[in-house]
């Protein structure tokens, strides 16, 4: 404490309020608050954007390299029809076009997943900065400065938009270097950035409508899910491709960066994010800080009976999220189930084509049951992610310090975390049953009478070991590296799914494919259940679960 001095004695001239507005000699300009908020936005979202950009660049590099290895002479016409007419592939990846070049193949093969990834990132980032920061009451401090809330929001939105574009341009530069077609790379990059910005704007609107970030994320992801379903329907038959205009996830397909580009498709990619962001700012004007446009329950009822144990409390805290996932997955599965008959009818008309596929060994995938099996694995991926998020709720409880309140009472750590783990697993099983039932119901309504409820259930229950593995992985991460609970599992599980899907198409060595649990699942019900694999995966999942419980019991409770 060497230079404690009273302000009257300090070198700074004594200031009276009247002089403050001119403030000679101090750092002061009208642009300063805006610049500070822009810098903060980049600080809060920049690291995620850089990680995403690196992932996108590596992914695209690997895609192009794999394409060159697998198809040195380009995709042959036979292979092209194989992709184009496989309903599962079409609906998942989109209608294949322009596969003759490495760039075109990459856009088709990786574009759909990258769009989903960037869309989710955009929505999560926007809701975090525009609602999460407000939930934490950090925005209050910023808005007590001389800056209007709408202007601060425009700056944050511009920052997120800039990051979206930057991630898109990373894709552009990677593809331009590796595939050697600058125009296609630029168009693809703009499309990726535009999709990310669109869902960031959707997240911004959701952040104005509802008053907790969790709800805003739910709304945004529901919008993304809807966009994905529309895209699937649009890709299911050539007659329906016009529907791609209706979904942000379809604009890339219309743009055709590596074919004959349809430049009109650039318009929605640029205009829609800006329009939606403008709408979000207009909505901001109509609400108080911390409030949502849609008033949530104003008169909460106390229901202490449902708080009789930590388990009951954990269930109550998350049943809303589970219900949302249930409805979303049920709708998605039903739509998919209803489309099976259409796809199969369409394939049945071409005997020659069917025999061709049989000779390639792909026949199983083109039967209704094979189709069901392929789709079920995608549903299982979604359920596994939900389970990870559910375990992430335990981490959120710990991080916020709320877990301490319970653990300071006679509640053992094993009981607390075990309760969360059990609920995660039960929720996963419930979602699997819902997915199976909804697919079957959709299939029956859509005319696939040969699919029984038992078939549909077998298809999804086949993936249950992966759900157990996901729960175990998340709990183990929670026990060992708490801050990575969601991040690690939410990256590893989709990555292993991609490994199975992409690796097979790109003819990666089998030992690489074997790293993914999805590789070990048989195509049930088209193939018999691979009992040994299923049991081993389940056992590994349970072992990880126990490991996580033990590790949590031994480590500190970390509330930061």
């Amino acid at each position: 404490m060497s230079r404690v001095s009273r302000p009257e004695q300090s070198a700074v001239p004594v200031t009276v309020p009247g002089e403050l507005s001119t403030g000679a000699g101090r750092d002061r300009s009208p642009a300063a608050p805006g610049r500070a908020i822009a810098a903060l936005t980049l600080r809060l979202a920049g690291r995620g954007a850089v990680l995403l950009a690196v992932a996108v660049a590596v992914w695209l590099g690997v895609e192009v390299a794999s394409y060159r290895t697998a198809y040195p002479d380009g995709v042959s016409p036979v292979q092209f029809t194989l992709f184009a007419d496989n309903p599962a592939v079409r609906m998942m990846q989109g209608v294949p076009t322009d596969l003759g070049t490495a760039g075109g193949f990459t856009v088709w093969d990786a574009g759909w997943m990258l769009m989903l990834l960037l869309g989710i990132w955009g929505a999560l980032t926007a809701t975090r900065l525009l609602r999460g920061e407000e939930d934490a009451e950090r925005v209050d401090l910023l808005l007590s400065g001389p800056i209007r809330a709408e202007r601060a929001m425009r700056i944050v939105l511009a920052g997120i938009g800039g990051l979206c574009l930057a991630v898109g341009l990373t894709a552009t530069s990677t593809l331009a270097v590796t595939s050697g077609d600058a125009r296609g790379a630029v168009l693809f990059g703009i499309a990726l950035g535009g999709v990310a910005a669109t869902f960031a704007s959707v997240g911004a609107i959701a952040s104005q409508l509802v008053d907790v970030r969790r709800r805003a994320v739910g709304l945004s992801l529901a919008a993304l899910g809807l966009a994905w379903v529309v895209r699937m329907v649009a890709s299911s038959a050539d007659a329906r491709t016009w529907m791609q205009w209706l979904t942000p996830l379809g604009w890339l397909q219309q743009l055709r960066p590596y074919g004959e580009p349809v430049y009109a498709a650039l318009a929605p990619l640029v205009i829609v994010p800006v329009l939606l962001a403008t709408l979000a700012v207009l909505l901001r004007r109509r609400r108080d800080l911390g409030a949502g446009i849609v008033a949530m329950e104003t008169q909460p009822r106390s229901r202490p009976g449902r708080l009789s144990s930590p388990l009951a409390f954990a269930w109550r805290s998350n049943r809303g999220v589970l219900l949302a996932w249930t409805l979303g997955l049920a709708a998605y599965s039903a739509v998919f189930g209803a489309l099976i008959a259409t796809m199969i009818d369409w394939l049945d008309k071409d005997d020659q084509y069917r025999s061709l596929l049989d000779s390639f060994g792909f026949g199983a995938m083109l039967s209704p049951l094979g189709f069901l099996a392929v789709f079920a694995s995608f549903g299982v991926l979604a359920v596994a992610l939900q389970v990870v998020w559910r375990v992430g709720a335990a981490r959120a409880e710990e991080e916020s310090g709320r877990a301490e309140v319970l653990l300071a009472r006679p509640v053992s750590r094993l009981r607390w975390l075990g309760g969360h783990g059990v609920l995660a697993l039960l929720g996963g099983v419930a979602l699997v049953v819902v997915t199976g039932t909804a697919t079957w119901a959709g299939a029956v309504v859509g005319g696939s009478s040969e699919i029984t409820w038992a078939d549909s259930m077998k298809a999804v229950l086949n993936g249950l070991p992966v759900v157990v593995l996901a729960a175990g992985l998340a709990v183990a991460t929670f026990g060992v590296i708490p801050r990575a609970t969601v991040a690690l599992s939410a990256v590893l599980i989709p990555a292993s799914y991609l490994l199975t899907v992409l690796g097979a198409a790109l003819r990666w060595p089998s030992w690489v494919l074997d790293l993914s649990p999805f590789t070990h699942l048989a195509l049930v019900p088209a193939q018999p259940w691979a009992a040994a694999s299923g049991l081993v995966i389940t056992a590994v999942g349970l072992a990880l679960l126990v490991l996580g419980l033990v590790a949590f019991d031994r480590r500190d409770v970390v509330n930061t």
Partner: protein
């Protein structure tokens, strides 16, 4: 005369069915330290957030230095805010937070900032994540004072500070006031307000019950007399200033509001052995406003020729 630092007219805020603030009429003069008292949930934070334009009023209006609070670009040019429950960005260091908030305010008195950091004994090199609640509070106090604002809106600012730091905070507020800065200090810590403020407002369930100087408040409110008597206690029920009488072992405890002359005269006639009086702490004053009814206060006021003791909004720069 210059515009008051804060002025509100009929300021009202309703959250759904809940009336959080009901027709607040208030003026705080430039350079004043104004205490804003009330229990939890009385509407103190709501008032401050309305003054900051963070909430839109359901009715009425408010001005800071004559500028409507909705015009935040002008109104916030010389305003600092310290929230009661400070939330900062966990991944930033203390230094980065100060830089950020200084940039947002648009100007920082760097020398004064460094002095403040030393006075509150803050290590700025650490991340907010590792700060205790008290340290986060210190960061937000430094951030508020370092811009030398003309108006400081402080919402229960000493929650989480140790007594030494509370004392340091009080001297910071006094120095600010001496320089002509206005301080609006919301608190339920009565000691804090008692030591600092010249005027206080008392808020209860969203209604401003009273605005007055501390001096006047003290003179108008209760004193407790403990009289040891060798005879039976005198009749006191008929005196309007007597709010309560409790028997003690050797005498009587009397709660008196207003001048106690007549009470003391009657006690003296009743063979008084010992008389102790407790000057009212703000705590007692405060409780008086909760425990006594408006009718009682009006009766007291009428008996002593005062006006509007129970009314709201004395307003005006005292």
């Amino acid at each position: 005369m210059a515009d008051p630092a804060i002025r509100t007219v009929g300021l009202t805020k309703r959250f759904g069915d809940v009336l959080a603030l009901d027709h607040l009429d208030l003026e705080v003069a430039s350079g004043e330290i104004f205490g804003f008292l009330g229990p939890n949930g009385a509407g103190k934070s709501t008032t401050i957030r309305l003054l900051l334009g963070l909430l839109r009023p359901t009715g009425g209006a408010a001005w800071i230095d004559g500028i409507p609070v909705g015009d935040v670009q002008r109104a916030h040019r010389s305003v600092s805010y310290v929230p009661g429950d400070v939330s900062l960005w966990p991944q930033l260091t203390g230094h980065e937070v100060l830089h950020l908030l200084g940039q947002v305010s648009g100007r920082v008195d760097v020398a004064y900032r460094d002095e403040l950091v030393e006075r509150v004994d803050l290590d700025l090199s650490r991340r907010v994540r590792s700060y205790s609640k008290g340290n986060r509070q210190k960061v937000s106090l430094v951030a508020a004072f370092m811009t030398r604002p003309s108006l400081l809106l402080l919402d229960e600012p000493t929650v989480g500070l140790d007594p030494l730091m509370q004392a340091e905070f009080q001297s910071l507020v006094r120095e600010a006031s001496a320089r002509g800065q206005t301080v609006f200090l919301s608190s339920h810590l009565l000691d804090e307000v008692e030591d600092l403020c010249t005027r206080v407002g008392i808020l209860r369930s969203g209604v401003l019950v009273e605005v007055t100087t501390l001096e006047r408040l003290r003179s108008m409110t209760t004193t407790i007399f403990e009289a040891t008597l060798s005879g039976p206690p005198p009749p006191l029920d008929d005196l309007p200033e007597v709010l309560g009488i409790e028997p003690m072992t050797d005498g009587v405890r009397i709660t008196v509001s207003g001048p106690p002359g007549e009470v003391v005269r009657r006690l003296a006639e009743a063979r008084l052995l010992r008389l102790e009086s407790h000057p009212p702490t703000l705590e007692q004053i405060f409780l008086t406003y909760y425990e006594t009814t408006e009718a009682q206060r009006d009766a007291v006021a009428a008996a002593h020729g005062a006006t509007g003791a129970g009314g709201r909004g004395h307003g005006g720069a005292g």
